[in-house]
Amino acid sequence: MGTGNSIALSKPGEEYRVHYLNAKYGIKSWLLTTDHKRIAWLYFISTSFFFVIGGLAATFMRLNLVSPQGALVQPATYNKLFTMHGTIMIFFFLAPAVPTVLGNFLIPMMIGARDVAFPKLNLLSWYIFITAGATFLWCAISGGVATGWTFYTPLSSTYTNTHVISAAMAVFISGFSSILTGLNFIVTIHKMRAPGMTWFRLPLFIWALYATSIIFILAMPVIAITMALLVVERIFHVGIFDPALGGDPVLFQHLFWFFGHPEVYILILPSLGVISELIAAFSRRRVFGYEFVAFSSFAIAFISFLVWGHHMFVSGQSIYAGIFFSAMTMAVAIPSAVKVFNWIATLYKGSVALDAPMLYALGFIGLFTIGGLTGLYLASTGLDIFLHDTYFVVAHFHYIMVGGAIMGYMGGLHYWWPKMTGKRYPEHWARVAALIIFIGFNLTFGPQFILGVEGMPRRYATYPPKFQFLNIMSSAGASILAVGYLLPAIYLLWSIKYGPAAGPNPWGAKGLEWTTASPPPVHNFDVIPIVTEEAYAYGHEPAVVGSAAS
């Protein structure tokens, strides 16, 4: 950790204070740490690394799609690129990003605890994650895998010559990292809350992470065993999923999507929680309908286990199963809409401040709504037969995953950055970056809706010339998006060294994490706080921007 040293050196004029970053030095103090805040940094660095790798794969894909014949790579390479992009982004960036970076850092601080319930297990989760990531990189280096992130059989079990086994093992291992993280979070939220921190005083981010952890616990083991079965089938040629050997390929899809759809909510639920925090903090109001927003996270987590067959409408699944899954998918829109409407109601008559995190939050609301509503198109059994496996699907889930999950992550990262580093980033640059990301994102994925409706299938390296204009638009948008992601990388790193000191509560926000110093002391609080007020108790005192807490 090079950053540790530079943060710790306090400038002249600042009083010297021991905090979690300067309490110990050296690479060992980071790699063997059990401090949840340092583990959050370990995750931040590793997930950011995977984000870059996954982003590079996407860059090559978008470059290739500039020309109808494929401008850059062979179709076989293209298959490997989108598999790498999908697998890395889902298993090694999106799923861990918000829970393990922001969640790890904030859960103990938000509930008033010294650490998570099982700090060593927390570190073990990271090592398992790194092992999984290394396994996947090894797979990529040794030639890659070309099955798509879904590993559908019998392509993956029998027909492809690419390195399925190492890729499946990577997913298998990463599952256990998530399981242990989820377990740790649930126990922490249950047993480690400060005195007075009742369930309905918890920040909504905690509720969202709790719901996410439930999905970790219940869905991850299923993908782990499914990947194990895939590996066994590939090695021993036993007909588990291969119809030629007596197996059922649709069973693989059942098992995969029993995990796979809840996984989508693993990606989005934590960001939904982040947005609740941002909306409350930057409109200086208690989140409208707190209980509804809290329970909608649970409703989403629960229903997400009942919708998996909407990925299998054209896989030969029973029409009655199709009807059931379609109806359930429509139902999951209700708790999602509850959140959106409650956020808007919170904004209403709030004193809205358009700081960079809030820009991300507002962008999130719009993009998440588009992503959610287009999901309803795909949930309709009849319409899905037309849209299935077209770019409409690609656009839809990128609106949820990039427009939703990553926007939430970026917003949260900016909001809590001063807490994590003790430094402020340049606000105007951050606003510019948020705007660039919003524009670049819509330019990238908006055209893909049209491409999908016009019938362009996903996962092909080439396409008919009539689709070229929209594809070039999309690729141009992607380069703007890349600039948008590069900017924060630059100014956030810059701020670690040169940013002005943040003070304990730069946003004047509510919440226990803002009552302690920035960066926080090793065990978060000098004295364990006693909670006496509701979450987001704005309005009990005049809202003053700037450091209010002592």
Binding site: D115, H190, K191, M192, I225, L229
Partner: protein, 225 residues
């Protein structure tokens, strides 16, 4: 109160980790953590059980044929062995709760021996036999009677489920050995949480076998087909 004495003793000896307020909180957190892990395990075995259910539903006769190749005698014996080990484990936890060190070590050793006996029967007797019979799918499968592909499928699930279960037994035995060493060093004096947590795991592995025994060995009855 005896309770408070225990608490004070645990905190005094540094057995309460620094993130916890007291030993009760630590005890409850560890318990809840273990149960959540077991919930994960249910779904982990669940993927296999769901697949087994589906294929059993579709290829009932083939699965019955496969089931008849298995030895009810050894399966039943192993069930009894595991139930006995659950009893000794429960008694070990009880001994730990009462801070009876000698009893604790004796019962843990009993449990370990029963666990090893189970593994010995499983691998040495059953798997060995089934391999020689040509019933190991993908490795040595020579059955060519009716429904051969689906009988192979059944045998695969047999090996996968019992293998995964045996893997859990091996991990359990490792935990038991650790506990025995720690108990010999008197680490569980008035501090039984680790023993209780390990007990939960051991009983869970027993429960898995309680389901595997009828699902694999007694499938659809043993009265001929």
């Amino acid at each position: 109160m005896a309770n408070e004495q225990v608490t004070v003793a645990e905190e005094h000896r540094g057995l309460v980790k620094e993130q916890f307020d007291d030993s009760l909180q630590q005890y409850q957190a560890s318990n809840l953590g273990m149960w959540l892990f077991l919930a994960t395990e249910v779904l982990f075995f669940g993927g296999l059980l769901a697949s087994l259910t589906i294929y059993r539903y579709q290829y009932f006769h083939a699965f019955a044929i496969g089931s008849h190749f298995l030895s009810v005698f050894w399966g039943g014996t192993n069930t009894a062995v595991l139930i006995c080990s659950s009893l000794t484990m429960a008694l070990a936890v009880r001994a730990a709760q009462l801070s009876k060190r000698k009893d604790l070590i004796v019962f843990l050793v009993f449990t370990l021996c029963l666990g090893i006996l189970f593994l010995f029967i499983k691998f040495g007797e059953e798997w060995h036999h089934e391999y020689l019979e040509g019933l190991a799918p993908g490795v040595n499968f020579t059955y060519h009677g009716p429904h051969a592909p689906h009988v192979e499928l059944f045998m695969f699930f047999y090996f996968a489920l019992t293998g995964l279960h045996a893997l859990h037994m091996i991990v359990g035995c490792g935990i038991l050995i650790t506990l025995i060493i720690l108990a010999a060093r008197n680490r569980f004096k008035e501090h039984f949480t680790p023993v209780e947590i390990a007990g939960l795991y051991w009983h869970f592995v027993d429960i898995v076998w309680i389901f595997l025994y009828p699902l694999l060995y007694l499938l659809g009855g043993r009265f001929g087909h």
